[in-house]
Symmetry: none
Subunit: 296 residues, 5 copies
C-alpha cells in the first residue's frame, strides 16, 4: 500500500477495518491505484434521464456488460450503478473491480419534487459483492430532511457491515435558484453536509463562479481550481475524499482542463458517466487514459 493511501486512510480514524479495507480496495485499484486519486464510472443516467437519451448515441451502451467491461479495460477505480445494472454483470465480473451499488434513484418522468426512491439495500450490496454503497441527497429540497434521514440509516447499516459510503450531494429544490445549484458556496456547503453525515467519499458537481449566498472576491474563485480548493476545504480540510462530476457531455478538451483544475485544487478525482459511455468505446478508453494520466 502506498504512503499516500495510508495518509488518506489515517483521516478515517473512527471507521472499522472493514470500511478501511473497502476504501483501500478502491484507492489501490486500477491505473490510479496508490496515487490517492480516483476516477469513478457511474451509469445511473438511464434511471435519471431515460435509456434513449443516455444510450442511443452509442447503442452498445444499452448492454450492462458494456460498462463493466469498459470499467475493467480502462482501469478506472470503481463502477457505480443501480441494482439492475449491477445484477446484470456482478456474477460475470465478480471480484474484477470495485462496485458501488447506488441505493436510490430519481427519474425525470417524475418532475414534481426533488426526491429519489430507494431502489436497493445494503444487503443487496453485500450479496452482490460490492465495495461501497452510493446514495444521493438533495440539500435545499423540500424533501431534504427525509433524504438525510434515509442517508443516515443507510450509512450506519453499510458501515456496520464494512461497506464504504459514497454520497452524491446535489443541491436543488425549493431553497435554491437554478444557477445556485452549482454556485461555489452552495457546492461547498453540500460537500460539507455530506462530510458531516459521515460520507467516506463525497461526490459533488463542479462549482461555477456564481455565488448564491456568500460574498467572495472574484479573484478568489477564478479560475476553477480556486473553487475546488473551497470545496476541498469544506470536506474537512481535505480529510474526506471528494470527487467531481462534469455533468452533461462536453468537448474533450474541456474535460481534460477540468481534470487539471481539479488536481491543482486538491480534489481527489472525477466521476465521469455520460462523457464516457456516450463516446465510442475506443474514444472513451483514450479519454479515460488521458484523464488518469493527468491525475497521476
Amino acid at each position: 500500500m502506498s504512503d499516500k493511501v495510508k495518509q488518506i486512510l489515517s483521516c478515517y480514524e473512527s471507521e472499522n477495518p472493514g470500511v478501511k479495507a473497502n476504501l483501500t480496495r478502491i484507492l489501490m485499484h486500477g491505473k490510479l491505484g496508490g496515487t490517492g486519486k480516483l476516477v469513478i464510472l457511474p451509469v445511473d443516467q438511464g434511471f435519471e434521464h431515460g435509456p434513449l437519451k443516455s444510450f442511443e448515441v452509442n447503442p452498445d451502451a444499452y448492454d450492462p456488460h458494456y460498462h463493466f467491461q469498459l470499467a475493467v479495460d480502462s482501469g478506472v477505480s470503481a463502477y457505480a450503478a443501480p441494482l439492475g445494472m449491477i445484477e446484470a454483470g456482478a456474477s460475470t465480473y465478480a471480484g474484477m473491480l470495485p462496485l458501488i451499488l447506488k441505493l436510490n434513484s430519481s427519474n425525470s418522468l417524475h418532475s414534481l419534487t426533488s426526491d429519489q426512491a430507494i431502489t436497493a439495500s445494503v444487503k443487496d450490496a453485500l450479496r452482490l459483492g460490492c465495495t461501497a454503497v452510493g446514495f444521493t441527497i438533495y440539500p435545499g429540497s423540500a424533501k431534504c430532511f427525509d433524504m438525510i434521514e434515509e442517508a443516515r440509516e443507510i450509512i450506519a447499516e453499510a458501515k456496520s457491515c464494512g461497506l464504504a459510503v459514497v454520497l452524491w450531494s446535489y443541491p436543488r429544490g425549493e431553497g435554491i435558484s437554478k444557477e445556485g445549484e452549482t454556485a461555489v458556496d452552495v457546492i461547498a456547503y453540500a460537500a460539507h453536509i455530506a462530510a458531516l453525515l459521515g460520507a467516506n467519499i463525497i461526490k459533488v458537481k463542479l462549482p461555477t463562479n456564481y455565488l448564491e449566498k456568500e460574498k467572495i472576491e472574484a479573484e478568489n474563485i477564478e479560475p476553477l481550481f480556486k473553487r475546488i480548493e473551497y470545496v476541498r476545504k469544506s470536506c474537512f480540510a481535505g480529510k474526506r475524499i471528494v470527487v467531481f462530476s462534469g455533468g452533461e457531455s462536453k468537448g474533450i478538451d474541456d474535460i481534460y482542463n477540468e481534470a487539471k483544475e481539479i488536481k491543482q485544487g486538491g480534489g481527489n478525482g472525477s466521476i465521469i458517466g455520460r462523457n464516457t459511455f456516450q463516446r465510442k468505446r475506443e474514444e472513451a478508453l483514450s479519454m479515460l487514459r488521458e484523464i488518469m494520466g493527468i491525475y497521476t
Copy 2:
C-alpha cells in the same frame, strides 16, 4: 431445456437457482415452451375497471375457474390475477400451469391519484403455489417513488424465496401527458426503470409513435416493430424478457398484426387480457392459437 431458454436464463446471472427455475417453468410451459416467447393471460380487469365492464360481455368469465381453464386449454405460458381470483382456483388447478400472483391493484372507483393498493403478499404467492409475483408501478405519478420503494421490498423478498418477478411498468400521472403514457420514448423509459429495479419479466403497453421528451426521426419509429426495438434495447439490450399488452379490446387482425410486429422487433411476447376473455371461449382459444403460431 431448449438452447434458446438456456441463453435467456444466462442473462439472469445474479439470480438464485430458485428464480431461474421459476423463470424456466414459465418459459418451458405451454405451446410456446422452449421458444423464448411467451403469452400471459392476465385477469385483473375486474379490479381495475369493475366486473360489469370486464365480464358482462362474456358472462362465463365472472367465474374464476373459467380463466384457469382457458389458460390450461389454450396452452398460454402463465396466468396472472389478484389474490381472490387465484385463491378461487389454485387448489383445483394446482400444478397445472404457472401462476402469477398480482400483489397490488388499482380500481377505477378511486380516481384521484395514480396509485395502487397492495392486496397480497409474497407469502400468499408461496402458499398458493405461484411461480411469480406481479407488481405495478406508475412512473411519472406523484406516488411513483412510494410505489418503487414498495416494489423494491417485494422484489427482494420474492427473489429470496425463489419466486420470479413481473413488473407492470405503466407511465401515468402528473409528470406525463395522456398521449405521452404510450409515447415510445416514455414506454422505453418505463421498461428501463423496471429493468433497473430488478424485474425478471417486464410488461409495458405497446408504444405509439408519439414522442414525449425525445426527438427521433419518424423513419426510426415506424412501423411498430421499430418502436419495439427501442423498448427491447431499453431492457438491457434484450437481456430482460419484455412482453407487451395491447390494452383495450380491438379487432382480431390488429391483434395478430401487433404480435407480428412484436416478434419482428425482438419482443418476447404478449400479455392479453380483455382481448381474450371478452371474446367467447372458442373464439378466444382460436385467437390464442393463432397468436402463439405467430410467435413460434
Copy 3:
C-alpha cells in the same frame, strides 16, 4: 392432469394449493407422470456411507452433475440430495426436474447414537428452486422424540411456503432389534408415524417377514406384496403416497421383482439410489426404464 393424480391429490385435502402444486409437479413429471407412481433418485449415500464406498465403483458419480443428468435422462420423478449436491447443479438444471432438498443427514464416522444433523433449511429449498424437502426420523432411537420435534417444525415451515414434505422413516436404535428394523410390523408402524406427522410422501425400507412385536399368520405376510399391503394400509389406507427403498445394491432381477411386488401391493413406487448410480450409466438408464415400465 390425469384422473389418477387428481384422485391422489384429493386425499391431501387440508394442504394449501402450494403443497398440492408441488406434489403435482412430482406426480406429473418424467416417464411415470400421471400414473400415480413415482421413482425417486436419492443421492445421500456420500453423507451416510462416505464417498469412496458410494462412488468408487462408478467414479463418474463423484461429479454432482452426473446425478442431475441421470435423473433428467432417465425421466425419474424427482432427485433428492443434501445441500452441497443440490447447490452444485441447481443453477445448470434449474427448472428441469423436481428437486428434493434433504434437510438432515447422518454419517457413519459417528456411530454412537442414532441421530442426524440438520444440514439445510426450508429457506435453502426455496432459493434453490426445490419442490420438496426431505427429512429423516429414526423411530425407536433414543433421539426419536427430538428428531420428531425437529420434523414437526420443518414440516410446518415447509408447508407454509408451499413445499411438499418427504419423510424418511427408518426405525432403529435402542428400542428395536437389528432384524426388527425392517420387520413388517415395525415398518408399518414407522410409515404410520410419518403419516401422523403430516408427511406428504413417506419413504420406508422394504419390509421383511420378520415380526418384532405383532403376531401375524405367515400366509398373510408372504410374499412381499402382502407386506406392502400392510404398509400401504398404515399410510391412511393408501391416502398417503408411500415409496420403498431397496437398500444395499443387489442383483437386477431382485430389483425388478421388488418393483412388481410393490406395485401389486399398492405401493406408489421406489426410491433407488445406490442401485442406480453404482451401476454404469447405460446400465442404470436401462434398469430405470425397466422399473418404470413395471410401474406403468
Copy 4:
C-alpha cells in the same frame, strides 16, 4: 481474471456474486494469483496448543503484526486467524490481503471432548473487512452433529452476506481410531462432508495410507498423490477447492515433496501454519517462495 479461475468459479454455480467475488479475491491474490492454486497462512495454533508451544521457538511470532507482514511479504493467498489476532492487525493491514476469520476454536487445556467454542461471528468478519470465515468440524466426534448444525447456520449467514466459507474438516473423536484420523478413506469422507455442507474451500489433513473402513489396493494409495486424488474426487470430482495442512513441523524437504504430491494429485494447495511461523522469517519466506514455485 485468468481462465483457470473462471473455470473454478463456474463450479460454484449457486453462489451469489458476493461469494464469487470473495473467492476471486483469494484466487487472484498474491504470487499464486490466477493459477487456481493457493497457499493459506493460518495462525490458530496459539489457541489450539498455547502460545509458548507455538511461538517460543521464534519469539517474533508472539506479535500479531508479524503474521500479517509475513503474509503480505510472502505473497500467500490469504491469512486465517481467530478474532483477537485479526483485530490486532486488521486496521493497519486493511485491504492489503484476504483475511479469513476463524469463527471457532478448541484449546488443549480442555481435553475431555472433541469440540470447539464459537469465538467470533459473521458480523465480526464484515466489520473487520474479511474475505471469508473459517469453521472447524470434527466428523466422528460425539459433538459432531452439534458442530455440523453450528456450521450450517454460519455458512448460511456468511454466504447471505457475500462471504466465502472455509471448512476445516478434521475427523476425530469416539468413532475413529487415532490412526484413523488421517486414514485416506476417513480424510476423503471428511472432505466430502464439508462439500455437502456447502463449503467453498475445504481444508483437510494430508491423508496417510492407513485405511479405517474401506479396502483399497495398496498400489492405489501409494504414493501420496494417489491419496490426494481420492480426496479431490470426494470434493465433487474436483469442483470444490481443497487444500491440505501438513500438520506438525517437519523437515523442509518433506514439505516440498508434499506440495509436489498435492499438485500431482490435483489438490488446490496448502495451508501451512507452524511450518511457516516456527521458522525464522527469512527461512519462512524462502520456504513459501519455493512452495509457491512448485504450485506455479
Copy 5:
C-alpha cells in the same frame, strides 16, 4: 494524554473510539494516570467466598460505599464489582472513578463444576455509568466452551456500546491439575486465550514456576519477573494490557515484591482485592500508595 498511553491505545487498532475512550479513562485516572500502569480494586470476594470470610476481618467493608470511597481516596485506576455492589454506590460516586461491572460470578456454596452464573448485563453497565465490563472464563473446565461462547457474545455487545472489556482468565477444572492452575505455561496460555477472544484488559493470577505441559529451563522462569515476561509475550507481545492478582492475603512485603517483579517483567499492574479491603483502611491506603509508587 501521555505518549505512553497513546502508544498503548495504538495497539487496540480495531476498536471503535468508544472503547478507546473508556480505556483512556482507566489509563488516565488516579495516581497512575498516564504511566501505562494500573491498579484495580476488585470486590467480588463476597460472591466467591461469602461475606463473613471476606469482610468480618474488617467489618467496615460490609458497606459497599466503603470500597467506592477507598478506591477514590487511594487513587486506584478502577473499581470492579458485581451488580449489587455497584448499584449500591453508583449514584453517590457517579463520575468519580472508572467502574468495572463484573458480569458473571461463581460462589463457593456450589462446588461441583467450574462455572459461573451471568449476574448482570451490558445494559446494566451502561445505565450504571461503568467504563468496562468484566467477565471470567475457566480454561480447562468442562464448561470452558460454554463460558467462552458467553464471553464472545458479551464482548461483542459491550464493545458495540463502546465499553471496554476485562477478562478474568483463570485456568481450572477437569483438564488441569490443582498445581497447574498457576503453572507459568498454563497462565500464559490462559492469558493468550483471553487476548484471542478480544479482551482489552487481561487479568490472570501470578504464575508459579510449576510447569504443567511445557518444558522450560529453570533459569528461564526464575525469578518471578521472567515468568511475567512469558505471560506478557503471550498477550500479543505486550500489545494487550495484562494485570496480575496476588490471590490470597499475604504479608505486605510479599505484595511489594510481587509488584516489583510485575513491573520488571513488563506487566501492566495489579488487581488487589482481599489484600486491600481485609486490611484496615489506613493500612490499605498506605499499602496502595506504596504499590503505586513502585509502578510509577
